[in-house]
Amino acid sequence: MIASILASGLAVGAVYALIGVTYNTMFSASRVISFTTGMLGMLGGVFGSLFVLRLGLPIWMGFALTLTCCALIGVLTEFVAVRPVLKSLDQHLYVLTTLALSLMIQQLTATEWSTEPQRFPRLFDIGAGVFDEKFWLPVVACGIVMGALELLYRHTLVGKAFLAIAEDNFAARALGLPERNLRIASFALAGAIGAFAGFAGGELLLAFVANGALLNFYGFVPVALGGLGNNRGAIVAGFALGIYQQAANFIVGGIFASVAVFALFIILLLAAPQGLFGAPATRRV
């Protein structure tokens, strides 16, 4: 039982963590919490199944196309749902615009793809039981994304520019950084990360339109627990959430598992409103 809790918990936890990182990547560049994030995860699975199973493309090509398509949807999000409301962030209009775009993506997928879950291709056909690839692929994907982001942010000029606009976009613009282009690039990067989460978790979650709402919801929990904008916090909180959720499934079962997850979530946020790894909010005077 413990092996099963760990295998399944780490796998879904990795997907939640990556969705959390997607939220953070968009947030850092724009201060917007975009509700299209879960849809990017869902589309990772749907595009993967479409390109590899329906269109019969090689897995590597299907993977590359999936990431490209979702990166473009990330850019579209920036143009359509984020940029028009950036001037009035304090009114939180982005909730409406990103939610509307998210619903449009969901409806379009339901109409053009299917409302029923569809099969996702077996990628490497390695492992069985608790060592099946459907359990360890999302964990590996999470490691790859974290490693790549560390490299990008710490060792490249573009990555440092990303960090600069995340820290203070007014100051970054004053220094001559192309803030608008960097924001577009951030949304493209977020789209690709969300797609990677959905693609790596496709064997577990299937290519299913309903995954969008699920990932929007559970993917936000690591962000809130780990601290908004904190990727490392999101990763730790994502894995913790996955294992806790799966343990609750085994111990209390069924619908009570969700109740257990959200009861703990509320208690933790009451104890640490800024998240477990976030710094308390400060205000300049």
Binding site: M1, L204, N249, F250, I255
Partner: protein, 399 residues
Amino acid sequence: MKITRRNFTTGAAAIAGSIPLIRPMGRAIAQVEPIRIGWLAAMTGASSAPAIGFDRGVHYAAELINATGGVKGRKIEILTRDTQGDPTKAVNATQEMISQLKVHAIWGPTNSGESLAVTPIMARANMPNIHPCVVTALIDEKKYPNAFRTSPSLGQWDDSMRAYCLNVLKTKKIAVLGDTTGFGSAAANFSVAAFKKDGADVVYAANIDYNQPDMMPDMLRAKNAGAEVVVVWSTSTGMDARLMNTRAALKWDVPFVGHSSMSSGDVANLIEKREYWNKVYVTGYRSCSYDTNGKLPPRTQEFVDQIKGKVKLSDNLLWWVAGGVDAVNLVAKAVETTGSSSADDIIKFWNSLTKYPGYYGDYTFTPTQHNGYPTEDVVMSEASSAKDGAFSLAPGYKA
């Protein structure tokens, strides 16, 4: 022209004199007026598969009747509205059908959620209504004397499934799994209560989120509780397939019995190996089942031969198409027999039916019983045996 007293009196007398001539003309218009059947169909959206099947039957029946001259010279006109499975849209479409389209009867909706919303509206308008929805509360002969069910109710499904578990499979320790939708929880609760009433031991019962990626926790608990059969009430093919994959991962040779979604082609695409679909038995209908010799009942075979090449069955279920044909025929028969398309006459005719021979079933209605489908014809089918929209009887039934 100047209106004089004489002109006015002459005109009034002429109008009064022409009334006896106008009345038969009105009757003549009614005689050639088409029989308008409203068809509330969820043609798109999550629950569109059954409506697409029913729709093929509806149009086939209407075209057949019209090609042979209609019903006493009156053509059948099908007025379809796509409700998309949305109760709000179904309410709007029903109101349009009653007040603007002036339909004579309504067939549908085809899912219980929509039907719960529109049934009281149709009852207020005394609109003759036939539907195939399973929720028990939809049939209430006192509250809704206009509503008739041509499919089994949830209770009839459950009776058939329970009888199969207890009398054919001879199992006594039962696990009942439902999803967390309204249907899933209602059906699972109903099953648990009925099994207990019949003296069976319900060793495990749970409602599972149909989106849950891993079914191992519940399946493991059911196995550890000693379940000899797992009853599944869910319309989610994803949940069904995951349960079958988990059963195989546990190397557990337990039969699955339950909702017909487990026989969907989508399940075949989602299970890891074809053999994981074995020992899965779903609710079905004797009229649309192959017997142990691989043959359909004679009347059904005649229907299948009749529609061959005209109605596609390979991607659909036979009972959906047959049910659509029966719905149109029931309205046509009412008008043909009574010579009237008034609501009262149609309802009165349906209330008088005893074993009316449809293709999907032999319907019996009385003023106090509007569940028209015969319980003895609800059977269990082998989930993996689909061929041209029909299934083989599950093991244990006589030919």
